[in-house]
Structures are given as C-alpha cells and as structure tokens.
C-alpha cells in the first residue's frame, strides 16, 4: 500500500504541474522541466505502481510466495530518494536550484540500487517457479526491459552531470533517447502490465485462462521488439549508424504484439462467465482501447512521415490512456481487496463479513473514471493540435478525475462505503491508511 500511496501522490503532483503549464507542450520536449515531469510520471507514478502491484501479484501468477517480504521497503526508500535527487537534479539543470551536490549521479546510484533490489527479489521469485506460465513470462521479459531502461538512464545521468565524457556514453546520450523510451514504456511498463492483465482479467471475470498460440506470439513478438530496439538500437548508435531501420523492425513487431494482445483481451471479455462485470474490468477495456488507438496512430503517422512531430501526443496516450488508465482501474480492485484481507480476513468463519465489492461505491466512482478517460483522450487531441492552452484545460479535467478516483480509494481503505451494520464485526479493526500487511498465501 505504501508503493500505491507514493505513486498516487506522484501522479497528482505531475498532473498539477501539467495544469500549471510546466514542461511539454509549454516547454520543449527535451527541456529540464519536461524531463522532471516525465520522470515524475514514469518513475514516481507508473514504476512505483507497477512494483507495488508486482510484489502483490507475482506470487498470485506463480502460486508461490515472494522471495523476500522485507526487501520491498528498502527498495521503496531508495527509489523515492533517487526520484527526489533526480527531480532536484533536473531543476538544477534548469538553473532553478543551485547544484551543491552531484545530484544526478546520486540519483542514478539510488535508483539503480532500488531497482536492483526489485529485480533481485522478483527475479529470484520467478526463477524458483520455473517453468513459468504465460503471464509470468511477460513479467520476466518486462523486468529485462526495466534493467535496460535503468542502465541507459544511468548513462544519461552521468553524461548530464559531466561525470563521464567517454565517447560511447556521449553517443548513447546523443542518440539513445528513443531506446530509453521504448525499453521503459514498451518493455518494462507495457509488457509487464499485459502479463498481469491477462491473469487479473481472467480471475475477476471468471474467464478461462488463455493458453492459445496467439498469446505465445504476443509474448514472442513483444520480447523480440524489445530485444531489437535495445540491442539493435544500442549497436547502431555505438557504430554511428542510423537507428531508423532498427525502429521500423521493432515497431512492426510491437504492432503485432499490441494487435494480438487486444484480440486476446477481447476474447477474454467474450468468454467471461460473469455477464455483469465490475467497474474495474470495464475501465480496463477503455485502457486497452487507448493502447490499440496509440498503435494505430503510430502506423498512420509513420506512413505519413509525421511520427516524430507527434511523438509527444502518442507517448502521452500510452502513458495516460493505456498505462495510467489500466493502473487506476486495477487499483480500484486491488485496494479494496487488500483492505478486505486485512480487515475481514482474520475474522472469516467467526463472524459474517461483507464482500470486497461492498467496500466500493461504483455509482460514485463511475463518473470520475469517465472524466479521467475523456480528459486523457482530450489532452492527447490537444497535443496533436499543438494547443498548450487546450492541453492545460484537459489536464485540469484529468487532475479532477484522478482526485475523484483517489478519494474513492481512500473511502474504500477507510471502509466508509461499507454498511454500518457489517462494517466492524467482532474482532475486526480499520486498517491503517498507508501501511498494510497481509498473510502470505
């Protein structure tokens, strides 16, 4: 729960900065203000969210406990410290704060250490559970994407801080940004989210687990797309060759991945046994739709030669329509579920207990999710139209929608929507807002 709380604070902070006109599109895409905003979203929000979710759900995917239940806390402290140093370091590049400390190298060290703990813990957990099922294999490939993203990010930090002037590092700094973005958004965040979504959607909608040839192709094409982009891209950069052919190949593979994934998810929805599905599953469909839209935009813009000009809009749609949309939708299930386990799990069999679904009030949350997705799509449109003003209006809607969803999560955590007659059976107690502890499975 600490990961989720920190992640949501970062999301609200990032959206507030967007409303205030901080960073792209009001500032150039490589400006320090944009770097700060982007890293607040991808590290502070998305990566912390995904790490927290993986610590909960990798054990579900492989039906084994986490390798270490104690490592997530030091990892979180290192990641938060690294993020704070990185953001302050970007402010230093902007001239907004004096750089008394080598903040960027410090940030690189702390983030690398924090993510290493995450990788070690999840890697050891997965390794012990071989042979892995399909969802867990997606997570394993996603973790390789994380390792690549962090490695390239450290090189950027060292060059930006002037710590290294090695020619290879300078070349990667000059031309490696697309590799960093593809490995992070495509490899780490998207492949991992795909793997987890396969299992969670099947679980929550009572749909049969997918094990069909198409799913295998999704994983293989996704892994190849990541491998080609990272290894091929880095080789091309170091050899002073153009990276365009590499990214065309990786892009085609990525497109195959997204289309087959969307087909699989559509199959899961069709094959579900629960006809009436919960809000979290309906909103997950809106997120997958955003991913599909982003893929189609990449094809259309690529064929028109306009992809570079509109890259910011596409990246925004991936980050806020797909990844954040899916993240918020799944948090709307994960938070009540964990809260139920903490509060009512210990009294099960001793007293009547409410359902997980009794912890949420979907009729209130529905409008905030609706506003969120409309705002995410409107903000994407504003970026296409190069309208910084319209983007800020859409960002304000995004902020209000997110705040509404966060309020619903807090209400679920505080059991505010549970009927008073069954809220506290004998022996139960309200769990703390931020800290949580559940028994191993």
């Amino acid at each position: 729960m600490s990961y989720f709380a920190a992640a949501l604070v970062a999301l609200l902070a990032a959206e507030s900065l967007m409303v205030a006109g901080w960073g792209f599109p009001s500032a150039p895409i490589r400006a320090p203000a944009t770097l700060l905003l982007v890293h607040l979203v991808v590290l502070g929000w998305l990566s912390l969210l995904l790490c927290g979710a993986l610590f909960q759900f990798v054990p579900v995917l492989i039906a084994r406990p986490l390798h270490s239940a104690t490592l997530p806390l030091p990892a979180l402290i290192l990641l938060l410290g690294g993020l704070a140093a990185l953001l302050t370091g970007f402010l230093g590049l902007n001239g907004a704060v004096a750089m008394a400390l080598p903040l960027l190298p410090m940030a690189g060290t702390m983030l690398a250490s924090g993510f290493s703990l995450v990788l070690w813990n999840l890697g050891r957990t997965l390794w012990a559970a071989r042979p892995l099922g399909w969802p867990a294999k997606f997570v394993a490939v996603g973790l390789l994407g994380l390792a690549a993203t962090v490695a390239i990010g450290i090189i950027f930090a060292l060059v930006l801080a002037g710590t290294t002037t090695a020619p290879a590092a300078l070349r990667i700094y000059a031309c490696g940004l697309p590799i960093h973005i593809v490995a992070g958004l495509g490899g780490w965040l998207t492949l991992t989210a795909m793997g987890v979504s396969y299992r969670l959607l099947a679980m929550f909608m009572l749909a049969p687990e997918l094990d069909r040839p198409g799913t295998r192709v999704v994983l293989q094409s996704g892994a190849w797309a990541l491998g080609v982009a990272v290894l091929g891209g880095t080789t091309a950069v170091l050899a002073n060759h153009g990276t365009a052919p590499v990214f065309v190949v990786a892009g085609v593979l990525g497109l195959v991945t997204v289309i087959l994934y969307a087909r699989d998810i559509a199959h899961l929805y069709r094959a579900r046994k629960r006809r009436v599905i919960e809000l979290n599953s309906r909103m997950a469909a809106a997120a997958v739709g955003s991913l599909l839209l982003a893929a189609l935009l990449i094809v259309v813009l690529g064929s028109m030669g306009a992809l570079a000009r509109h890259a910011g809009a596409v990246v925004f749609l991936v980050a806020f329509g797909w990844l954040s949309g899916l993240g918020l939708a799944k948090l709307y299930k994960i938070v009540p579920f964990l809260t139920w386990l903490e509060c009512y799990g210990p009294v099960l069999g001793k007293a009547p207990t409410p359902r997980v679904q009794d912890l949420v009030a979907e009729q209130h949350a529905r409008k905030w999710f609706g506003l969120y997705f409309i705002a995410a799509w409107a903000a994407t449109a504003a970026l296409f139209l190069d309208s910084a003003w319209a983007f800020r209006v859409a960002a304000a809607m995004l902020l209000v929608g997110t705040a509404g969803i966060v309020l619903q999560l807090v209400r679920a955590r505080r059991l505010d929507d549970v009927p008073a007659s069954v809220r506290f059976p004998a022996g139960s107690m309200r769990p703390p807002l931020i800290l949580s502890s559940t028994r191993p499975h």
Partner: protein
C-alpha cells in the same frame, strides 16, 4: 452411531462453512463448490478438503483458517484439519444453480 446421527453433525458443519464467503465472488464457499469433502470421525476430528477459485489466490490462507474456525466452534468438535487442493481445479460448473444465478452466470455459458 447410526447413519442418521452421523448425518446431523456433517450437515451442521456444511451450514457452518456457509458462513465463510469467498471475498471476491461474495458468495459462500459451499455453494460456490469450493468444498470438495467434509468428514467428522467419532472422536470429533473434522476434516475439510477445499480449493480456491484460482491457484495462488491471495485469500487462500484466510479461507483455510475461516473454514477451520467455522467448524471448530461447533459442539463436539475436537479439532479441524483443512487441506487445500487444486486437484481438480475449480471451475464455475461446480457452483450450485443459486450461486450461478447470484453471480449472473448463464446456465448455457458453463456447458
């Protein structure tokens, strides 16, 4: 003990297990088909063989303990042993018609 006397504690045990719900589906674990077997011997030792809706379910240990607690409070029960298995895997076909109706599962969709 004749069969009529033996049936009564078993039925009581099943009723007690109905107080335990699967938190996600919100229905009792007996009618969801999660209880594969229940037995009570003459010494009051109860035995429950149960499953979860999915392998690796985060609520497994709570459901196991809940099943144990629900039967342990019955009169004449000395101890309860609850074993979780995934052989066979649970499927929606194992639910009672009432549970299916509660969850809005159409009869034809599970055939």
């Amino acid at each position: 003990m004749n069969s009529g006397e033996r049936e009564c504690p078993l039925e009581r045990a099943r009723q007690a297990l109905r107080t335990v719900i699967d938190p996600e589906l919100g229905y009792n674990i007996v009618d969801l088909g999660l209880i594969y077997d229940v037995g009570i011997d003459d010494a009051g030792m109860a035995y429950v063989l149960m499953t979860t809706t999915t392998r690796g379910c985060p609520a497994t240990s709570y459901l196991q303990e809940g099943a144990r607690e629900s039967i342990a409070q019955l009169p004449g029960i000395a101890d309860v042993d609850v074993v979780v298995t995934h052989d066979p895997e649970w499927s929606p076909q194992m639910m009672t018609p009432e549970a299916r109706r509660y969850l809005g599962i159409e009869e034809e969709s599970i055939r």
